[in-house]
C-alpha cells in the first residue's frame, strides 16, 4: 500500500516546514520545529496589526476562490461594534475531485492548523472556532482531534474554544454558506447572499470562513515576515507557496508544496516525472473538476491566478490531474457531469435540472445516438446554467463540460459519426460507474419502481 507522496519542491517549505517524512503530530515535535512561536508573538500584538500583516503578505484563499485572506478578516466587525459572539469556521470539507492537500495538513502538521486558527482568532477577536471536516475523513479527524486535545491540555488555546464538527458526506457543504447551514444542523443548502457571512454567518453572527490551507499558511506568513512572503511566488497577486495536488496519469503523483508561478509543464514533467508508459498528455483537469480543462498547448502557463486567468483557467484548489491519450474525453465530461448531478442540492432549477440534462445528452453522445445539434444543445444548457444559479456549483458543472465540447469538438463529432465511442471500449474511463446511478439499487427505490 503506497503512501501519499508529500514533498517540498522548488522553494521554501512554509506550510510543510519541519515536515521531513515524519508527521509533526505531537506537540513536542511541533514545538521543536518552532511551533506556536508565531502565536505567542501575534498575541503580543494588537489584533489590527496582525490583520495588517496578513493583508501585506497578500495571502489569498486556497479553497478555490482565491479571495484575499487579510481583507476578508478585515470585514469582520470588532467586538465593540456588535453585541454577538464572533466565529471562525475552518473549511475542511475537502471534496473537490482531485484535491487531497488539506488532508495531508491534518495528518502531517495538524498543530500548524491549530496555531493558524488561534492567530486568526486573536486577529478578529473571536473565541469560537469550528473546524468543519468532511465526514469521510476518519484518520484525519483522529489526527487533528489528538493534536487539539494535546494543545488544550497544554493550555495553548487560552480563552479560545475549538470544536471539530464532522460532516456526513455532501460535496456542497464545502460551499461556505451550505457549510454554515450544515453546521447549524440543517440540510446543506446554500444561502443567498447578502447578508455575507462576515456580518451574518453561523447563528446569525459575524463569521470568518477560510480553507484549511489558508489558515495553516498564516503562521508561515508571520514566520517568514509578510514583506518577504509577498516576494515569494508570482507577486503581486499570487504570493507564496501552495500545495499542488498532482494526480492522474503521471509518474510521481503527490502533494507538492511549490511557489505560485511554476509552469504546469514543470510540475507535470520535471517534478512529476511526466506521463508514464510513453503516452501523450491529452488534457489536464486544472484547478479541480469544477473548471475548464487545460489543453496541451497551454502547458507552459504559469500556475498563478493571473497567468491562468488570461487563458480562461482557474487555480482552484491547486489540482493538476493529468489525463493521457488513452481516455475518451466524452466519458470524462460525462463522469464529471454525473458528479455534479449527484451533488446538486436541488435548491435552484438551472442546476438541479441542468445537471441532469448534461448527463443525458453526454450519455447520448457517448452511445452515438446523439445528433450534431445536440452539441449545440450541450453548450446551450451550459450557458443557461452559468451565472444563473444560487451558488457556484452550477457553474462548476457547466464550465468543464463546455470546455470539453469546445476544445475537443472533433472527438465529440467522431462519436456521432461512428455511432459510438471511437475507443471501442478501450478508454480508461469506459463505463466508469457513478454513484448517482447507485440509488436504483437501494430497497426504497426498488420498491418505488416496482
Amino acid at each position: 500500500m503506497a503512501a501519499t507522496r508529500v514533498t517540498v519542491a522548488d522553494g521554501p517549505a512554509l506550510v510543510l516546514a519541519g515536515y521531513e517524512g515524519e508527521p509533526l503530530r505531537s506537540l513536542a515535535s511541533y514545538q521543536a520545529a518552532g511551533g506556536y512561536e508565531q502565536l505567542a508573538q501575534a498575541r503580543a500584538q494588537d489584533p489590527q496589526q496582525v490583520i495588517g500583516e496578513i493583508i501585506e503578505s497578500n495571502l489569498r484563499g486556497r479553497g478555490g476562490a482565491f479571495f484575499p485572506t487579510g481583507r476578508k478578516a478585515s470585514f469582520i466587525p470588532t467586538p465593540d461594534k456588535i453585541a454577538k459572539p464572533i466565529y471562525i469556521t475552518v473549511n475542511a470539507d475537502e471534496s473537490e475531485p482531485g484535491t487531497f492537500k488539506d488532508r495531508e495538513i491534518m495528518l502531517k502538521v495538524p498543530h500548524r492548523l491549530i496555531e493558524g486558527c488561534l492567530i486568526a482568532a486573536h486577529a478578529i477577536q473571536s473565541r469560537n472556532v469550528y473546524i468543519y471536516i468532511r465526514g469521510e475523513y476518519l484518520a484525519e479527524w483522529e489526527s487533528l482531534q489528538g493534536a487539539l486535545d494535546e494543545a488544550r491540555a497544554a493550555g495553548i488555546l487560552g480563552e479560545v474554544d475549538i470544536v471539530i464538527h464532522r460532516g456526513a458526506g455532501a460535496y456542497i457543504c464545502g460551499e461556505e454558506t451550505a457549510l454554515l447551514e450544515s453546521l447549524e444542523g440543517k440540510r446543506g443548502q446554500p444561502r443567498s447572499k447578502p447578508p455575507f457571512p462576515a456580518i451574518s454567518g453561523v447563528y446569525a453572527s459575524p463569521t470568518l470562513i477560510n480553507n484549511v490551507e489558508s489558515i495553516t499558511t498564516i503562521p508561515a506568513v508571520l514566520a517568514t515576515g509578510p514583506a518577504e512572503y509577498a516576494k515569494i511566488g508570482a507577486p503581486p497577486d499570487s504570493t507564496g507557496t501552495r500545495l499542488f495536488c498532482l494526480s492522474g496519469n503521471v509518474e510521481r503523483p503527490g502533494v507538492y508544496e511549490a511557489p505560485h508561478g511554476i509552469t504546469a509543464r514543470h510540475l507535470i514533467y520535471d517534478i512529476g516525472g511526466g506521463v508514464p508508459d510513453g503516452r501523450e498528455l491529452k488534457a489536464v483537469m486544472m484547478g479541480g473538476s469544477s473548471f475548464p480543462v487545460m489543453t496541451p498547448g497551454d502547458l507552459d502557463t504559469a500556475l498563478d491566478a493571473n497567468s491562468l486567468g488570461q487563458k480562461g483557467y482557474f487555480i482552484g484548489s491547486g489540482v493538476v490531474t493529468v489525463i493521457d491519450d488513452r481516455s475518451c474525453i466524452v466519458q470524462f465530461a460525462l463522469r464529471v457531469a454525473q458528479f455534479y448531478m449527484h451533488e446538486s442540492c436541488g435548491k435552484c432549477t438551472p442546476c438541479r435540472v441542468g445537471t441532469r440534462w448534461l448527463v443525458q445528452i453526454l450519455r447520448a453522445v457517448e452511445n452515438g445516438t446523439a445528433q450534431e445539434r445536440d452539441l449545440e444543445l450541450l453548450l446551450d444548457v451550459c450557458d443557461r446554467i452559468i451565472g444563473k444559479c444560487l451558488c457556484v456549483l452550477g457553474d462548476s458543472a457547466a464550465m468543464p463540460v463546455a470546455s470539453c465540447v469546445t476544445k475537443f469538438r472533433e472527438e465529440f463529432r467522431a462519436h456521432l459519426a461512428q455511432g459510438g465511442c471511437p475507443f471501442g471500449g478501450d478508454s480508461t474511463l469506459d463505463h466508469l460507474f457513478a454513484p448517482v446511478d447507485q440509488h436504483a439499487h437501494t430497497p426504497v427505490a426498488q420498491e418505488a419502481l416496482s
Binding site: R5, P97, F100, S247, M285, F433, H441
Partner: protein, 157 residues
C-alpha cells in the same frame, strides 16, 4: 434514559444552547450504535434533541453517509471519481462485485458486507482508494480484492 440519550446530551454541550448543531453528530452516534438509521433510531435522536422525527429525517436524508436502510456489518466503498477512474477504479469495483456477488448499493445476502461506489475521497494520488469500514486503503488493484475481503471477513469483528 438510554445510553444514546446520554451521549447526545454530552454532544449538545459543544454547541450554543438553543441551536440544532448537534443533529449531525447525534445522527452519527445513532448510526454507529444501530448500523443504520431506522425510524426508531431517528425517533430516539429526535427525542434526545427535542426536535421532530420529520426534521431529523429530512436532515439525515440529505447526507450520503447516513443509511436510511439496513446495511451490512461492514461497508466497502470504492471511489469511482475521475482520478481513480483514470487508473482502474472501474476494474477494482468490478472485482468487488464479482467476489461479493452484489452490485454497488447492495448488501451480501448474509448481511455482512455492503458495497458502495462513492465520489472522490480525497486520496487521488494513490488510486484506487477504497474505504473499508471508513479506513482508507490506498493504491488498491483488482488483485488486492480477495485478500481485502478475506481480512475483513476473518479479522473484522
Amino acid at each position: 434514559m438510554s445510553a444514546l440519550y446520554d451521549e447526545i446530551q454530552e454532544v449538545r454541550k459543544r454547541y450554543p444552547p438553543g441551536t440544532r448543531s448537534a443533529v449531525l453528530p447525534a445522527l452519527r452516534l445513532a448510526q454507529e450504535r444501530y448500523g443504520w438509521l431506522s425510524r426508531e433510531a431517528i425517533e430516539e435522536v429526535a427525542d434526545a434533541l427535542e426536535l421532530t422525527p420529520a426534521y431529523c429525517f429530512s436532515v439525515a436524508s440529505f447526507y450520503d453517509m447516513f443509511h436510511l436502510e439496513p446495511v451490512g456489518r461492514h461497508t466497502v466503498e470504492v471511489c469511482t471519481n475521475v482520478c481513480c477512474g483514470l487508473l482502474g477504479a472501474q476494474q477494482v469495483l468490478e472485482a468487488f462485485e464479482q467476489e461479493l456477488g452484489v452490485a454497488p448499493g447492495e448488501t451480501t445476502p448474509d448481511g455482512e458486507i455492503t458495497l458502495r461506489a462513492v465520489e472522490c475521497l480525497g486520496g487521488c494520488s494513490t488510486p484506487t482508494i477504497v474505504a473499508i469500514d471508513h479506513r482508507y486503503r490506498q493504491s488498491v488493484t483488482p488483485a488486492d480484492v480477495p485478500t481485502i475481503l478475506e481480512e475483513l471477513r476473518n479479522g473484522g469483528d
